[in-house]
């Protein structure tokens, strides 16, 4: 059966679509950071923001026809991995000491 898709309104995705997607994800990350009260969720919002930035890097890499942008995003991932390890360790310690994961309750440097 010869089935052809109807022609799409646009032939190709423009660059700006990727960038705006990146911005939306970044903004969602900000919202998560601001509105979520669980420490782990807040931390995941940060990861979301990092991912959003990575998308921009890769998009620019495609635009520039160079691999450098991807290298940057690779480094971002490495840093994110390290950050996740240390950050989760900190969250563990915080929980051990304060018995809470509420951001609003962790507002004293010293117990």
């Amino acid at each position: 059966m010869d089935f052809t898709l109807p022609p799409l309104p646009i032939a190709a995705i423009p660059m700006s679509a990727y960038l705006i997607l990146s911005a939306i994800l970044f903004g969602l990350g900000i919202c998560g950071f601001l509105f979520r009260r669980n420490l782990i969720t807040v931390f995941m919002s940060i990861e979301l923001m990092l991912n959003a930035v990575n998308l921009s890097f890769v998009a620019f890499s495609h635009q520039m026809k160079q691999a450098d942008g991807q290298i940057y995003s690779f480094f971002v991932m490495v840093v994110a991995a390290a950050e996740a390890a240390v950050g989760l360790a900190i969250i563990l310690t915080v929980f051990k000491n304060r018995e809470t994961l509420e951001v609003d309750e962790v507002d004293n440097l010293k117990l």
Binding site: I30, L34, V103, D107
Partner: protein, 658 residues
């Protein structure tokens, strides 16, 4: 210039003594401290003698430049010493009398606390006094001037546990500040007018000055110098500190407040004689101030009962004579009187110290009497001082005082008459002191009775609190302990200096100091007018005779006179209420003004208000900003995001992405 005489050694030796005594003296024995103190001053004296011997006639001043102390633009002050004939006299007096008093003090202070401290201060005083005398410019002189003031303060307040001693020290210091203010202004004016502070330069220019040029300026300089001299040499109106200064130990009174430091003002006026010669108005002022001081101080001395107070007012009075001499142009006579006065007044004080020690720190003459057999050496030596200060020829006081008064007779007849009257009063009050102390019956406490002095002390010393009778020793020795001890002569270490000073007092008049000083200060040779000489002979006969009548022949007479002339007696006895007047007119407004305006108003209101206001404003702002730092992570994040948005906005408005 002649070869270097190492003049710096003269002050350096006492400085060395001061350094040794002040650093290790506390741990050393009294013998060691005494040795260091005496040796340093005697060595200094010997060095002075050697230097003067080597310099000979001193036709020209001998100047030694060590280093440039201050150099700023055209202003340059060297650390220079100079010796001329005037300096030589002062050096001999300062180191000579200083040595004798140091020796005496080892006996006098033998049982006092703070022995090393006393001698350290005394040596420091010698150092500064020698700087003052040797200085070859105004600023270095000022260094010595301030230094002796410091030592005077330290030594007046030597018994610092006693409030009156500390108060007296502060009074001396503060009153001297008034004088120093004048002196500083005078120095500024000197520098502005002559471009230098060096004595040679300034006086060289002053000597060639035409009187009509800048006469006003020279007069201003001289009047300001007079203010400085009046502070240091206890002239009206700044004399009030000297009687109180008797709170210090007696050797200090003798050395600093009679023989040397207080004559610094006279020395400075004479040193600046080429300036004063160009300022007749200032000269007249000096003479009038001197005469007035001599007269009023003598009247105050008439009614004092404290033996040291009598001599203190006598010192003020004699300093007045010296100013009178300088004021009438007889500078060398003034310096002559400085020298003879140093002899007999040091002797009077040291003798008084000996009497005070013999009487167990009783200073009120009404509790003396008949002491001449008990302390014969002291009596004998004090007699020498007596005849010297009373002006009996041919002893020293006669020569110098008469030189001054004869010069006054030629230049200013009214001042002569006042001076002569003062001379009679001088003879009277010294004789009174002598008669009360050494003649008649012993009026002190019965040696065998066990009552203390307490009962009559209140009566005796009720009037003056500041430098009150017990200056020389703590109160606690009164009323017990000493009451039953015998009155005995002082040790040889004290009497030998007394004897030497006695010989000097008797024969000091034959040093022909005016002639020696003539190249420096000009002639002060006055005609021996027969009338004047007769008047002067009359003065001491009158003074001594009157005292003899009142205190030996009919001892009840003084009280009768006192009650007859009650108002006058009260006035004199209370020293014309000058202290009280100063208190009301100057001190009270200052303290009240300080308390209510400066303290409560300016300090507490304005300054503290500003400081506290700054503090509370910061607190308020900080309290606001603290909300940003609440420890809440999400609000931190919000601010970060807001900042990021602001940057984006800024980029879109001003920059934009490429």
């Amino acid at each position: 210039m002649a070869e270097s005489q190492q003049l710096w050694l003269i002050p350096a030796l006492p400085l060395l003594g001061f350094l040794i005594n002040s650093t290790v003296g506390r741990k050393m024995s009294k013998q060691f401290v005494s040795f260091i103190a005496i040796a340093s001053v005697v060595a200094s004296f010997l060095w002075v003698a050697k230097t003067l011997n080597a310099l000979g006639a001193l036709e020209q001043p001998h100047v030694e430049h060590y280093f440039t102390w201050i150099a700023s633009g055209t202003f340059s002050v060297g650390f220079d010493f100079s010796i001329d004939r005037l300096t030589s006299i002062m050096l001999l007096v300062v180191t000579g009398i200083g040595s004798l008093i140091h020796i005496y003090a080892t006996g006098y202070m033998a049982h006092e606390g703070g022995y090393y401290r006393f001698f350290a201060y005394l040596n420091l005083f010698m150092f500064f006094m020698l700087i003052l005398v040797l200085a070859a410019n105004f600023l270095l002189l000022f260094v010595g001037w301030e230094g002796v003031g410091l030592c005077s303060y330290l030594l007046i307040g030597f018994y610092f546990l006693e409030k009156f001693a500390g108060d007296a020290g502060k009074k001396a210091f503060i009153v001297n500040r008034v004088g120093d203010f004048g002196f500083s202004l005078a120095m500024f004016l000197v520098f502005i007018n002559f471009g230098s502070l060096d004595f040679g330069t300034v006086f060289g220019k002053a000597a060639t000055l035409q009187p009509e040029h800048s006469a006003g300026m020279i007069t201003a300089i001289c009047l300001l110098l007079l203010v400085g001299a009046a502070g240091k040499s206890a002239q009206i109106p700044l004399y009030v500190w000297l009687p109180d200064a008797m709170a210090g130990p007696t050797p200090v009174s003798a050395l600093i407040h009679a023989a040397t430091m207080v004559t610094a003002g006279v020395y400075m006026v004479c040193r600046s004689s080429s300036l004063f010669n160009n300022a007749p108005i200032a000269m007249e002022t000096v003479a009038i101030v001197g005469t007035a001081t001599a007269f009023f101080a003598a009247t105050m001395g008439l009614a004092q009962n404290d033996i040291k107070k009598v001599f203190a007012y006598s010192t003020v009075s004699q300093l007045g004579y010296m100013f009178l001499g300088a004021g009438v142009g007889a500078y060398s006579a003034g310096i002559f009187h400085v020298v003879t006065h140093a002899f007999f007044k040091a002797l009077l004080f040291l003798g008084a110290g000996s009497v005070i020690m013999a009487c167990h720190h009783e200073q009120d003459m009404r509790w003396y009497g008949g002491l001449r057999k008990k302390i014969p050496v002291t009596f004998g030596t004090l007699c020498c001082a007596w005849v010297a200060i009373a002006g009996i020829p041919p002893f020293s006081g006669y020569h110098s005082k008469d030189a001054i008064l004869l010069a006054a007779y030629e230049h200013a007849r009214p001042l002569f008459w006042i001076g002569a009257l003062t001379a009679a009063m001088t003879a009277f009050y010294v004789s009174r002191a002598m008669f009360l102390t050494f003649f008649g019956e012993y009026r002190g406490p019965n040696p065998h009775a066990d009552h203390g002095h307490g009962g009559h002390d209140d009566h005796a010393h009720g009037d003056d609190h500041a430098a009150h009778g017990h200056a020389d020793h703590a109160h606690k020795d009164h009323g017990h302990g000493h009451g039953h001890q015998e009155i005995k002569e002082s040790p040889a270490v004290m009497t030998i200096p007394l004897v030497i000073l006695a010989l000097l007092s008797l024969g000091g008049g034959f040093f022909n100091i005016p002639d020696w000083l003539e190249p420096v200060l000009g002639s002060s040779h006055a005609e021996h007018d027969p009338t004047a000489v007769a008047v002067l002979y009359a003065t001491f006969i009158l003074g001594i005779g009157l005292a003899y009548v009142m205190y030996v022949l009919s001892p009840g007479l003084p009280d009768k006179l006192a009650s007859t002339f009650k108002g006058l007696h009260t006035l004199i006895y209370n020293k014309y209420f000058v202290d009280e007047v100063y208190d009301v007119t100057i001190i009270h407004p200052i303290t009240e003004g300080s308390r209510y305006f400066l303290w409560k108003g300016v300090d507490a209101g304005l300054i503290d208000g500003a400081v506290n206001g700054a503090g509370s404003v910061s607190r308020w702002i900080g309290g606001g900003l603290r909300q940003l730092q609440g420890g809440n992570i999400r609000s931190y994040a919000t601010w970060v995001v807001a900042g990021a948005v602001f940057v984006v906005v800024a980029m879109s408005v001003w920059g934009g992405v490429r």
